[in-house]
Amino acid sequence: MTDEKKAIFTYLVSKLNEKTDQVGKTTVQKMMYFLKRMGLVDYEYTLYHYGPYSFEVENELEQLESSGILDISWDPDRGYFIRLAEGYDLSELGTSVKEAIDFLVEKFGQKRAKDLSLIATVLYFYGRLPESEIIETVKSLKPQFSELEVRKTLEVVKEIF
């Protein structure tokens, strides 16, 4: 894992923890996907029903945990809690990535993992499918969301990405 990627993960986790009381693996996965779509990371993603998912990102999280940089705990009622390990100092990060993370955390940092999963799924198809097909497709993959919710999410995605 490169130092730059280490810096991206640690900065993201640290900023997210300032904004919300639970930073789970889903949140990190989806935030990294947003960064990918902004052209700032190059992890490969594939789509599951829980949204875009990267085996590479999962792997990086485990490496950071085993290196003692991230603390990853589990609550059976709520899922993962990822925090920066005590005493770990953040390293330098390029301005453009830093600004993008600040922006994403400000915009989405308080969203539930479930909602991030919807945003990332809509984003996954944004640019791949005509807009008219995105809503139907996402509704068919994530029937727990209403058409209105998917429509609103598409507007958010269009505004940001």
Binding site: D42, E58, P76, S117, P143
Partner: protein
């Protein structure tokens, strides 16, 4: 509908229907008989000569077993959450079986050895080398379209090739609720790995990949992710020991077979041999699928047998590079320093440096987690690493090795001995 049976050394018999029979008999699938599962591993383990053909049948069989248990034990949940009915269950079982059967149909000759950035062209969409899944999808959508979509058996199901491909790679827009089953094809509990651990062990003659597959089939289930409330695959609490042994099997097979020092030496030679044999040094891109399908182990081996290329000759004569120096599986700083010193001392004599990087728990060579979720009696989820006392201690493997040509082995040894490194 007529059913057929075929002998299988792992499961006894594998049953398939007329549609599956037609696919199996198609030349694109028969090609898998000529692609060995483990490339030149037979240079170390002589009986490692099994092929992607039988593995693909095994994956279909296991996918079916998993599917049946999941549906049987979670029927109400699937009916309520994903609105399944009997016809839906039956149709999607066929879909899952087809995706499992065809998941490896796009493999290059000598399986994963061919799948590296030197030999694969770059996918302009990802800016990364193509993977065998891209070829599988191309074959399913183009070569097998009529075989699948026009078959009598499929007239009740109306399964499209896009759906089959979608469970392997891309085309997610057509999957709807069926995307849930993608976890069975690739994921931490996918049927691909569950099959090859058992099959490779059987053929090689090792016991490292053996785990209690019957128990795994009996305990696979669905639970909801507390983070997203989405259904995910899990193992019932009563089967958590089999989940643990699956992880151990992966680890042992990696250290004893897949990362065996001589096997890796042959991967090195084979990769370079393929580079010299293939026109322009690379496999044709997936769009040239008919050209790609003409390549298999037999065709490539003919060139290996006759080529003057040094790597081809070394494969023929079993004069492979030798591992002269290696670190422990998990090297400490001192071991890394010594390794780096050995590399400096050997200089150009060290022709290959091999690094083990997490591969033992990767999914499709892309990284991934060793985590498997356990569904507790109260329905809640717990990662295996929080229950098992062994799994959390199984960190990443970072073994490094240096190789030299056999004719330079003595010289290399002396150089290392002189520096007190051996």
């Amino acid at each position: 509908m007529r059913y057929y049976e075929i002998r299988d050394p792992v499961y006894g018999f594998i049953r398939f229907n007329e549609l599956e029979k037609e696919i199996i008999n198609h030349p694109a699938f028969q090609r898998l008989r000529r692609i060995k599962q483990l490339a030149l591993t037979e240079m170390v383990y002589p009986s490692a000569t099994h092929t992607r053909f039988e593995h693909s049948l095994g994956v279909m069989h296991l996918a079916s077993e998993f599917y049946d248990t999941i549906v049987r034990n979670n029927k109400n949940y699937l009916e309520g959450k994903l609105h399944y009915n009997e016809a839906g269950f039956e149709r999607d079982k066929q879909l899952v079986r087809l995706a499992a059967l065809l998941h490896d149909i796009g493999h290059t000759p000598f399986s994963h050895v061919g799948e590296n950035k030197k030999l694969m062209k770059t996918n302009p969409e990802t800016n990364k080398p193509y993977k065998h899944e891209h070829y599988s999808v191309e074959i399913i959508k183009n070569v097998l379209r009529d075989v699948i979509e026009k078959h009598d058996v499929n007239q009740n199901y109306k399964i499209s090739v896009e759906e089959v491909a979608g469970l392997i790679e891309g085309n997610e827009e057509v999957l709807e609720r069926k995307i849930f089953w993608k976890q069975l094809i690739s994921g931490q509990l996918d049927v691909d790995r569950c099959d090859y651990l058992l099959r490779d062990s059987h053929h090689i003659g090792v016991k490292y990949g053996i785990y209690d597959v019957s128990r795994l089939i009996a305990t696979i289930t669905i639970a909801e992710s507390p983070e997203t409330e989405d259904p995910i695959l899990a193992i019932d609490e009563s089967g958590w020991h089999v989940a643990e042994s699956l992880i151990l099997s992966r680890y042992y097979m990696f250290t004893q077979v897949y990362f065996h020092k001589t096997r890796r030496a042959y991967d090195f030679h084979l990769s370079r041999a393929l580079e010299s044999i293939l026109p322009s040094g690379k496999f044709p891109e997936p769009q040239k699928i008919n050209e790609f399908l003409e390549l298999d182990d037999w065709i490539v081996s003919k060139d290996i047998l006759t080529s003057d290329n040094d790597d081809c000759r070394r494969i023929r004569e079993r004069r492979h590079i030798r591992c002269i120096y290696e670190t422990p599986e998990v090297p400490d700083n001192d071991a890394i320093e010594r390794f780096e010193k050995a590399r400096d001392v050997l200089g150009d004599i060290a022709v290959y440096e091999d690094v083990a990087k997490n591969r033992w728990y990767e999914v499709n060579g892309e990284g991934g987690s060793m985590e498997i979720f356990i569904k507790l009696g109260n329905g809640k989820l717990m990662p295996l690493s929080k229950i098992s006392r062994i799994v959390p201690k199984m960190g990443e493997m970072k073994q490094r090795r240096l190789y030299v040509y056999p004719e330079l082995k003595d010289e290399a040894k002396k150089l290392l001995e002189k520096e007190g490194l051996l």
